[in-house]
Symmetry: C2
Subunit: 175 residues, 2 copies
C-alpha cells in the first residue's frame, strides 16, 4: 500500500549556491525579461524546459523577486527626482515616516547608520510637488531635519545586476 508521505520530501531542498548558468539566466532576465525560454536556452546552452525549471527554482528561492515593467519617469509626468536624507530623533519614531511610503512618489526607503537616519528616493511631478512632499515629511513626529539632494541628470539607473566583480574583494589595492 502507498503511504501518504511517499510523495513528500524527507529533507527540504538545500539551497544551491547559484552556479554559472543560474547567474547567466539571472543576468539575461534582469536586462530583458521578455525573452523566450527557447532563446534564453540557446544563450546558456540548455533546452527550454530546463531553463524554465531553473527560473521556477530561482523564483521560489527568492532570487527573482518579480518581473516588472520599468517606466520612464518623465513619460509618466514625474520630472523631478531627489534623494532626501532624514534625521529623526529617538527610536521607533521612524515608523511615522514609513507611512509616506504609501505615496507612489516614494520609491525607496533605507535606514542608514542606526535607526534614526533615513534616505528616501522621491520622484514627483515638479518642484512644487517636492515642496508639498517635504511639507508632509516635516510634519511627521520625530523628524528633526532633512537634507534634499536634487537630481539634475540621471546618467544610469538599473536594478540589481547578477554579475559580480571579484577583483573588488581581492584586495590587490592594499599596499
Amino acid at each position: 500500500m502507498v503511504k501518504e508521505t511517499d510523495n513528500l520530501r524527507q529533507n527540504p531542498p538545500r539551497e544551491r549556491p547559484l552556479d554559472a548558468l543560474d547567474r547567466k539566466i539571472l543576468g539575461a532576465l534582469a536586462r530583458d525579461a521578455s525573452v523566450s525560454y527557447a532563446e534564453l536556452g540557446k544563450d546558456v546552452g540548455l533546452s527550454a524546459p530546463a531553463v524554465h525549471e531553473r527560473v521556477k527554482r530561482l523564483r521560489r528561492a527568492g532570487a527573482i523577486e518579480k518581473t516588472m515593467a520599468q517606466l520612464n519617469g518623465a513619460a509618466v509626468g514625474k520630472h523631478f527626482l531627489a534623494f532626501v536624507h532624514v534625521e529623526s530623533s529617538g527610536w521607533g519614531k521612524t515608523k511615522e515616516v514609513f507611512e509616506l511610503g504609501e505615496l507612489p512618489e516614494v520609491e525607496e526607503i533605507h535606514s542608514i547608520t542606526g535607526d534614526s537616519s533615513l534616505i528616501l528616493k522621491v520622484r514627483v511631478e515638479n518642484a512644487q510637488a517636492m515642496e508639498g512632499f517635504l511639507w508632509r515629511l516635516y510634519h511627521k513626529t520625530g523628524v528633526r531635519g532633512t537634507h534634499t539632494y536634487v537630481v539634475l541628470n540621471t546618467h544610469m539607473e538599473r536594478g540589481v545586476q547578477a554579475e559580480i566583480t571579484h577583483e573588488l574583494t581581492e584586495g590587490e589595492h592594499v599596499k
Copy 2:
C-alpha cells in the same frame, strides 16, 4: 495606381497625454509584468488586443522602457548597499567616474547640484568589496572627496510608479 506614399502618415502621431486607462495599465505592469493581456483587459475594461495595442504604443512612446526581472541583492551574493556622494573638481572631470558604471555593482549614477557632484548607488558583496570600490573611485582624476552612507536596512525599493498624488501640487500647505 498606388503611390508609394499611400501607406505613410502625413503627420507623425501626436503624443497623447496618457489617459486614465494608460495609467492603469502602466500601474499594473509596473507591479507585475507577468499578467496576461486578457487579465489586464478585464481590470481596465478592454479586450486583449486593445490592451496589447496600448502597451505597444506605450512602449514606442518610451513610457515603458523595458520589462525586467527584479533580483534580490542578497540572493545574488550582494549583501552590502551604500549611497556614495562624490565631490569632483572641475567640469568634464566626472566623465572618468562614469567609467565605473561599467561595473555591475554600480546601479545608479546621478548628477546633483551642478556637474561636479554625484550620487552613486552601489551594491557589493561585503564591506571588503566596498573598500575595493572606493579605492578605485578615489583613483579617478577629479575626485576630491566622497562620503559613503551605508544602508543598514532597506524598507522599500521599487521602480517608478505610474500613479500621481495630486494633493502634493495643490499647495494646501501654503498658509
